[in-house]
């Protein structure tokens, strides 16, 4: 192999005491595609940011194969400016100049349109505001912007997360063309099928460091390397308890963007909801929780109809929602572990509005112990905890409400393997105790191993129900995309 186009050597990085990378190294050759694979939190995004020069490493070095190589990065978080047009976003910093050296605003849509057409994109209107196009289209524009800058090194962090098959095919076409033109490409994805179809080399990450680089590797072996254990041992045994009474029913409940939905959730069961992102899962979960409520249809709590138009209605009806984005939707990062735990149950912990601090302290201590939250004290700001421990605080908050119906919305996202395992055990245990759990996950593997049955959503409707004996990640994914006949395997997403 010739000198690499870009290489990281022994790179480490910490964020506020949490180690994201520990002496990680990779080397990427000119004209090759290098995939980084690993669990969430394994350090891939951090490494991409360091390679792209967005953040500096605490130790170690990044070397490029020549001076002034142009590096282009597509970040996981989209950076399009919402109230500027697609054309303005694409041409930001290289706007066409007209008379007097002023930007020729009138010409911008035309130029953007031509450049997009050059990349084979003809369905996105350059005159539209970035806020007004779909998530997938925004991701495509984000990628197009970076490619248009003619990078010699291209870094793509989860660039396909919002794309459907046809769009992924487009992206891979672009990647192959760039590779053939000598561009070095680093690529992260959670979809195993994508990785094997495009990568020349695969480096596997675990706990912030690289644990092996391969030109070809089987999925099972990769998973074992990524997680440090075989797939079967990560998940608890599925409880085979007989299902209890129906605690929650939906009859013709329709949220914004979904069909009327019917559903029965029983005590003691984990009912999985699967399907590709953006197909109405969020509307279902947030509709149940009144944020905002369903537009029509009925919700029944143990056979009695309940009205849920706001979260406090849902809490009163004995529901609890753990959202996916714990930082923006769940936690109060600067506030203490204690404050985060007890907010929904303060009524119980107070008399005439005044808090019974002793009772609260005992409750919080008990929760910290029960969930094994690793925190120096209950006074610690929750933002200083690791992602997994933050998630435990959020789960623990809702267990304190004594709600018997848990709506868990992609709760293992961005959580390390060890904590994931603890959360799986916790969820399985709760089901055994008689909790009714509605469980959405973007990870089909997780659904297949944890749930008693799985309903698959597509375009806002339930399109399949898989009983325990028919459950597998492949079956879930197949049901989610039966129309397109696509065969990717979402993995550990």
């Amino acid at each position: 192999m010739t000198a690499p186009a870009i290489a990281a050597r022994g790179v480490s990085k910490s964020f506020g005491g949490v180690k994201a990378l520990t002496r990680a190294s990779i080397a990427v050759a000119r004209g090759s595609v290098h995939a980084l694979v690993g669990e969430n939190g394994a350090g891939k995004s951090t490494l991409i940011k360091i390679l792209g020069g967005r953040i500096a490493a605490d130790e170690g070095s990044v070397e490029t194969g020549g001076p002034d190589l142009r590096i282009g990065t597509v970040f996981q978080e989209l950076t399009l400016l919402p109230y500027m047009t697609v054309a303005e976003n694409l041409l930001l910093g290289r706007e066409p100049r007209g008379r007097l050296g002023l930007i020729d605003r009138a010409a911008m849509p035309r130029i953007a349109e031509a450049e997009l057409a050059g990349l084979g994109i003809t369905h996105i209107d350059p005159r539209a505001l970035a806020a007004d196009i779909s998530l997938a289209e925004r991701q495509i524009i984000e990628i197009a912007r970076v490619i248009m800058a003619r990078p010699q090194i291209l870094l793509l962090d989860e660039a396909t997360s919002a794309l459907v098959e046809r769009e992924v095919a487009w992206l891979f076409g672009q990647i192959r063309a760039l590779r053939d033109a000598g561009v070095a490409i680093v690529f992260t994805s959670h979809r195993w099928g994508e990785i094997t179809s495009i990568a020349d080399e695969i480096t596997i990450f675990r706990n912030g460091t690289d644990v092996g680089t391969f030109t070809s590797i089987g999925e099972d072996e990769a998973i074992t390397l990524m997680t440090g254990q075989a797939l079967e041992t990560i998940f608890p045994a599925r409880g085979a308890q007989p299902p209890g009474p129906v605690l929650l029913s939906l009859r013709g409940a329709r949220a914004e963007g979904t069909a009327p939905l019917d559903l029965d959730l029983r005590a003691g069961e984990i009912l999985g909801i699967g399907g590709l992102a953006g197909h109405g899962h969020r509307a279902l979960f947030f509709g149940l929780f009144g944020a905002p409520g369903f537009r029509e249809g009925r919700i029944e709590r143990e056979g009695r109809p309940v009205r849920i138009t706001a979260p406090w209605d849902a809490i009163r009806a004995g529901l609890a929602l753990v959202p996916e984005d714990r930082k923006s939707e769940g936690l109060f990062l600067p506030l203490s572990v204690r404050d985060n735990f007890t907010l929904p149950i303060l009524r119980r912990l107070s008399r005439l509005g005044i808090l019974r601090l002793g009772a609260e302290r005992a409750t919080v201590a008990e929760s910290i112990r029960r969930l094994a939250v690793r925190t120096p004290s209950a006074q610690q700001p929750v933002g200083a905890l690791s992602g997994g421990n933050q998630q435990k605080v959020l789960l623990g908050r809702w267990l304190l409400t004594r709600s018997r119906i848990l709506l868990l919305y992609d709760v293992t996202r961005g959580v390390d393997v060890a904590t994931k395992h603890e959360i799986y055990e916790l969820i399985a245990g709760l089901a055994r105790e008689g909790y009714a759990i509605l469980f959405y996950s973007s990870d089909a593997e997780e659904l297949a191993h944890l749930c008693h049955r799985v309903k698959v959503m597509r375009r806002g409707a339930f399109v399949a129900e898989l009983p325990a004996d028919a459950l597998s990640a492949e079956a879930i994914v197949a049901a989610a995309m039966r129309e397109s006949g696509k065969t990717e395997i979402p993995h550990a997403a």
Binding site: P323, L333, L335
Partner: protein, 314 residues
């Protein structure tokens, strides 16, 4: 010893700043730290402090109340006109004035929480509306039949002392205990901080954000009205510009008291210290017979200096 949290440190800094300014005053003008001098400064600080209590509530949820000046003016005028300067109507007049302040606050809260009007715009408009209504209904505050004096009872209270301590300070101490207690150990306080930190997460945790917002603006209006009543009791006579300085002073007291202008962080103890600091500063400059403009400039410079010293975004 456990390291103090950023918030606790800020409150300490605010208190240290207030004490430091007292010391500077004593050095510049001996006698500044005498009992009567300190008491009179604290009494004036209490007006700022009480108005700032309300401002503190709304800033804690990332809001702001620009309607404070005319709520204060209106409360003062309402008090003097409805009581006709007599003791018999005093309790009703006080209730009416505070009720008016609360009503304006409720309207602000509804405009912000229900109609989604930015707080700056809503409270600015409310200030104009209260101004117009006050001037219009009172006929430009010139009606001859109504007295422009506060009832003697209120004046006596405003100037009286209990156990050698001015009544105004007792009231302020009570307000301080109430507000800090409410923020620290009640459901209301926890909900306020939660809402100021992350409104979406607060709503998903079952907090009624609209109701809380309306409640907090109502409290702000009520405290502004109380400030107006105290001022008119202290000065004896209502005047139109009486509340004007309290808009910027109340906001300044809140921010140098360590409350984050974006919401979610801070406590009333720091705000009270901030109110004292600002009042001491003005008093020092007055004692040194500094002209108005020096006071104005020093005010701005000291606020900036204190903020740069400890009020940075974390």
């Amino acid at each position: 010893m456990r390291a103090l949290s950023v918030d606790t440190r800020r409150i300490l800094y605010a208190i240290i700043a207030a004490i430091g300014l007292f010391v500077v005053g004593e050095a510049a003008h001996p006698g500044f730290l005498s009992g009567p001098s300190v008491a009179s400064i604290l009494v004036i600080a209490s007006f700022v402090g009480i108005v700032a209590a309300g401002q503190c509530f709304v800033i804690l949820i990332g809001g702001i109340d620009l309607s404070v000046p005319w709520v204060m003016n209106a409360a003062a005028i309402l008090l003097t006109t409805t009581s006709l300067g007599k003791n018999t109507g005093a309790p009703e007049a006080i209730a009416a004035a505070i009720g008016m302040g609360v009503a304006v606050g409720v309207a602000n809260g509804i405009g912000i929480a229900v109609f989604g009007i930015p707080a700056v715009v809503m409270t600015l408009a409310a200030n104009g509306i209260v101004e117009g209504l006050t001037l219009g209904l009172s006929g430009g505050f010139t009606c001859s039949s109504c007295s422009s004096y506060a009832p003697p009872l209120i004046q006596t209270l405003a100037h009286g002392t209990l156990l050698g301590i001015p009544d105004a300070l007792w009231l302020w101490a009570f307000v301080t205990a109430l507000v800090s207690g409410a923020l620290a150990v009640t459901r209301f306080g926890r909900a306020t901080y939660a809402l100021g930190t992350n409104p979406l997460a607060a709503t998903l945790a079952g907090i009624d954000a609209r109701r809380m917002t309306i409640l907090l603006y109502a409290l702000c209006g009520g405290f502004a009205a109380l400030g107006g009543i105290m001022l008119v009791g202290f000065g004896g006579q209502a005047s139109l510009g009486l509340g004007d300085p309290y808009l910027f002073t109340s906001i300044a007291a809140v921010v140098i008291g360590g409350v984050n202008i974006l919401g979610g962080r801070g406590n009333y103890l720091g705000v009270a210290a901030g109110a004292v600091s600002l009042t001491v500063l003005v008093s020092v400059l007055l004692a040194l017979s500094m002209p108005d403009y020096v006071r104005s400039i020093a005010y701005g410079v000291v606020i900036l200096a204190l903020l740069l010293a400890y009020g940075r975004e974390t």
